[in-house]
């Protein structure tokens, strides 16, 4: 199972959609997309994750990176994450620095 990842930037909002499995072998692709969003000076980062089936620790590391890379002033949204993934985000305390929602409203 691989990872499909896409990035769109609309009006200062970077939207990344993740589908499949995020692990050590492809976390760097995710990281590259975050860097792209940061370079475009996005004011908001929205991660659509309803199609993401599995996330290893390497994926979580990228979340940590995303918050630090985008800077404290940029809100990072996690949209529609599945239960298992949400659990992990919660236990590691990442939920305090991310905005977690079922659906994204512009």
């Amino acid at each position: 199972m691989s990872l499909d990842i896409s990035l769109v930037i609309e009006n200062d909002v970077a939207k990344i959609t993740l589908a499949g499995e995020l692990d050590g072998s492809n976390a760097s692709d995710f990281k590259a997309k975050i860097e792209e969003a940061a370079a475009a000076d996005a004011k908001k980062l929205v991660l659509f994750m309803s199609e993401l089936e599995f996330m290893a620790s390497a994926g979580l590391r990228v979340f940590v990176f995303s918050k630090q890379k985008m800077g404290a002033g940029v809100d990072v949204y996690v949209i529609g994450a599945q239960e298992m993934i949400l659990e992990t985000i919660e236990k590691t305390g990442l939920n305090h620095s991310l905005i977690i929602q079922d659906e994204y409203h512009d």
Partner: protein, 706 residues
């Protein structure tokens, strides 16, 4: 321009290598690769062994080229590793001679003593594959946690109120009411921070959280057949790695982040975190124990050995770490610096700390270099250092631990004195010392009251409820014929051994518990409360539950309802202490009036005001603190009066007179029925008769003059 110092210079098969950096020890990320560094004084060669996570066999073995060794340190950079999926170990070759103290064996794969994450026991209690060639596997840790503006809190020592707890025991019981997947974990503690806030403690002390093996010496319980574990974890496998089985995210290898998230949240709530650390021995046990790490890397350096090559056993656990060997001293210092800087830990409590003051042959040192090093270390400068000032080899240093102005002590004498006094066996002279922060032990050497960590109960020994419910220990479930655990419990069952329906006995037990809590929270020094004592936790008379993963250790949160009076009383006493600086003095009392208030900083009374009965058979004592002397006269506080009647009948206590315009108010009376046994701060009722009061049998009264 590409840096050229990050290019490989050597190859081994498909592996690209470069000479490494000898320091820091352990595995460290460098551009494009990982720097591996390990030392051994006696090895003749060393091989790096690489595994994919959980793989039964290694995917590569790389001998360190001779030119990569500097001194006794083998270091090497390996490029292009999939570090998210990597486990590593070492093989060491060298002499193998028991009497000489050398255990080198190339067939063993050894854990890096500096491993920051250890795999192999990723989830608690999952039976390991005993055929695994490498049980405890070093992994790489990342230091990318977002601390934001967090830093250790640096609460003044005398202001601390410590709560000693076991990570798994705190929330494992279903009554904890948290998500099942969080029970018994660091995440579970985070869920319970609101409870800790409500109770009012401002420091938690965690029993060992360095990676240990719960299966060390695991065996079936002779009574029930259930597995007995190395449950408390006083047996370290790796000093730099957190216990994966305590993390809800251990399966993902995210334990580092989970603890850091806990620390950050505790700090946000003004609660410090202290770690109970075990440097006196390791999980390798005696000569019959497993070879995990130290023994195969440098046995003679790490352990104290007899001339015949056997292990000295000052720890009671099979071996003794050679803490005053300069190399071992280095690893202890590296470890504490790492936890203080990387995890923002606020303090450390050292298990059997007297061992740290013994020389390589076991003799106590006058000026132990390790204790001195830790006391003066710049990175640890603001960390609390707390010694359990005794060891299993008979060294007892309460009051004489080499402190260098920095070390606090678990005051075992405080525990014994309070227990004896409450049941009517103590002396008032001894009590007076304990209530003042044990100046008899600490003042002559210029050590502050906060040197004394005052506790009546701790993980070792009875809970507070069991102290008033059992005359003797009941440790049969440990499978050692009731021979283990201390026989000196200074306990009294109040008339019946164990649980009872008798309302009079139960009322007396609750009163005795409140007496203990009241004294603990009005004593100078630092109070430490054992997890669950605030709700009457019992271990059914077992005073050494080191091996039980069940209700003997798990806190039953339903007790909060059952013993709500104990919880409310404890909560009120903690709030009272926090609001009255006169209970938290920085220096010892001078027994004189040095601010011109007309009252000495502390005065002693009894059934007669100004006339304490100091005889050895006395069962009464009272003292008054002058609020104008709070914190050495630097802050203004109320007057506080505490009266103790441990006699079996009620007695009239005459009260010392307050300055005009002030009145005595009742904060606590353990002889009164709940909820009149204690009051919230500010709601204390005025005492009807300001000249004196009747104290019930075995009761304590605390008044506040304002």
């Amino acid at each position: 321009m590409q840096r050229i110092d990050i290019h490989p210079t050597h190859t081994h098969g498909n592996f690209k290598l470069r000479r490494g950096n000898p320091s820091p020890f352990g595995a460290t990320f460098v551009p494009g690769g990982v720097n591996f560094s390990i030392f051994s004084s006696y090895a003749t060669s060393c091989t790096l062994v690489l595994f994919e996570k959980h793989a039964p066999k290694p995917f590569g073995e790389i001998p360190f080229p001779d030119e990569f060794r500097i001194g006794n340190v083998y270091s090497m950079i390996v490029f292009d590793l999939d570090y998210e999926n990597l486990e590593y170990g070492y093989r060491m070759d060298g002499p193998n001679n028991f009497q000489e103290g050398h255990w080198f064996d190339q067939n063993k794969i050894l854990l890096d003593p500096y491993a920051k994450i250890i795999g192999g026991r990723d989830a608690w209690g999952v039976t390991p594959d005993w055929d695994d060639i490498y049980h405890h596997r070093a992994r790489l840790a990342f230091d990318d946690f977002d601390w934001e503006d967090d830093r250790p809190l640096e609460i003044p020592p005398e202001d601390q109120i410590i709560y000693e707890m076991h990570v798994r025991s705190f929330t494992k019981h279903h009554s904890s009411g948290i998500k099942e997947s969080h029970r018994g974990t660091f995440a579970g503690i985070r869920d319970k921070i609101p409870y800790l806030k409500e109770l009012g403690v401002n420091a938690i002390e965690l029993m060992p959280i360095f990676e240990f093996d719960e299966f060390e010496n695991s065996r079936p319980n002779p009574q029930t057949g259930e597995t007995l574990y190395n449950y408390w974890g006083y047996s370290t496998v790796g000093f730099f790695a957190p216990k994966a089985g305590y993390a809800a995210t251990g399966r993902f290898g995210m334990q580092v982040d989970e603890i850091k998230a806990l620390v950050k949240e505790l700090h946000k709530n003004d609660i410090e975190i202290i770690l109970d650390v075990v440097f006196n021995h390791t999980a390798e046990g005696n000569e019959r124990g497993p070879t995990i790490s130290f023994r195969g890397i440098d046995n003679k350096t790490y352990y104290m050995l007899t001339p015949e090559g056997y292990y000295y056993n000052f720890s009671g656990c099979g071996n003794t770490l050679n803490c005053n060997n300069p190399i071992v001293r280095g690893i202890v210092l590296d470890c504490l610096r790492y936890w203080a800087s990387e995890y923002h830990i606020d303090g450390f409590r050292f298990d059997l700390a007297s061992i740290l003051g013994r020389d390589p042959w076991g003799a106590p040192l006058a000026n132990p270099p390790l204790l001195e090093t830790l006391a003066f270390d710049p990175i640890l400068a603001k960390c609390k250092l707390i010694a359990e000032a005794w060891d299993a080899g008979g060294l007892y240093q309460v009051g004489s631990f080499p402190a260098y102005g920095r070390w606090g002590e678990w005051n075992g004498k405080y525990r014994d004195s309070i227990r004896k006094f409450i049941k009517g066996d103590g002396t008032v002279g001894d009590m007076a010392q304990r209530l003042q922060g044990s100046p008899d032990l600490y003042a002559p050497a210029g050590r502050a009251p906060a040197t004394s960590i005052n506790f009546i109960t701790a993980h070792d020994g009875f809970t507070l409820m069991d102290t008033v419910s059992y005359d003797g220990k009941h440790n049969e479930a440990n499978g050692e014929n009731n021979n283990d655990g201390s026989n000196d419990n200074d306990s009294w069952n109040c008339g019946w051994e164990g649980e009872t329906d008798n309302p009079h006995i139960n009322a007396l037990r609750h009163r005795q518990i409140k007496n203990a809590i009241a004294l603990l929270l009005v004593s100078q020094g630092v109070p430490m409360i054992l997890m669950g004592d605030e709700m009457g936790r019992t271990k059914y008379g077992n005073n050494n539950t080191y091996c039980h993963d069940n209700d003997l250790n798990w806190l039953n949160w339903d007790l909060l309802k059952k013993n709500n009076d104990l919880f409310q009383f404890t909560k009120n006493c903690i709030a009272f202490r926090k609001v009255h600086p006169v209970l938290r003095n920085t220096w010892h009392f001078q027994n004189r009036d040095y601010v011109g208030s007309g009252y000495a900083d502390i005065t002693w009374h009894g059934t007669k005001a100004w006339g304490a009965d100091w005889s050895t058979i006395s069962k009464t004592l009272a003292f008054m603190l002058c609020g104008k002397h709070a914190k050495g006269g630097t802050v203004e506080d109320n007057y506080i009066y505490v009266a103790m009647n441990v006699y079996w009948e009620s007695l009239w206590f005459e009260l010392p007179q307050l300055p005009p315009s002030l009145k005595w108010h009742v904060f606590a009376n353990t002889g009164a029925p709940f909820p009149e046994d204690s009051w919230t701060v500010g709601s204390e009722p005025v005492l009807g008769d300001q000249s004196g009061l009747l104290l019930g049998d075995r009761s304590i009264v605390i008044l506040v003059g304002k």
